[in-house]
Symmetry: C2
Subunit: 123 residues, 2 copies
Amino acid sequence: MIILDYQDRRPIYEQIVEKFQALILNGALPPDSQLPSVRRLAMDLSINPNTIQRAYAQLEQEGFVYPVKGRGNFVSHDMEAASRKREMFFQELLDLIKKGRTYGVSREEFLRFADDHYREGAI
Amino acid sequence: MIILDYQDRRPIYEQIVEKFQALILNGALPPDSQLPSVRRLAMDLSINPNTIQRAYAQLEQEGFVYPVKGRGNFVSHDMEAASRKREMFFQELLDLIKKGRTYGVSREEFLRFADDHYREGAI
DNA sequence: CCAACTGTATTATAAGTATTGATACACTTA
DNA sequence: TAAGTGTATCAATACTTATAATACAGTTGG
């Protein structure tokens, strides 16, 4: 379900956050479905439970999950979280567009590339 | 010429590298033009000379500048550096496209946004 | 009831990276 | 020759990440 990339410069807990965000946003984890327990996921990924705890705390803080003491963490119904994430995505796209300009990538080239590579399926 | 963003998660030396790459790639710093001296730029930015040294070392390693002992660092003629950077740019774009899919951003929406925001000038 | 799950909090430690600070040395140039 | 340049090195500090070891409280199925 989750695969860590130790070549990735970003910290482990952040990778975990992003993976669950993706699973939640694309519907693989519907509202009220349960996430793996802190200890269980730590076992599966061979990392420390505290790292999972940190990731879950952030997911909660961003509104993606809600915790129930003694039972587990569950996917939230919060639609705001998704739209905040979308806004951040478009900000990233804007930053990349700026970068493209300074690198001398033309509008046509950019759009052509995006058009060619933006298809469903090949996730 | 260079403005540091202390909110940015990336290290200072990396911000400096990227700024000079942009200045070189968009022609603001033509080949053989001289970069500020290590000590001078450190003074201007109120940071340690070692940090500048590290940034310049990376710019040299990537082929953007060449150093002359006792004289300074100068913009290289290396065209490979630019094309390598372009490749990395398109890899970033590809990653962002993948992300967009998992966030439920449609192809049309993506292309529409890129088309609207990709114009020269507003750098 | 209780054992075995859950989440949560705390403290300590280790490791890696970024940055600063202080030198020192070699080369170039006005 | 003085003042600029690059380059190398070492130490110290600060911050972040991740691990390790507990402890405590709530939930649940047998």
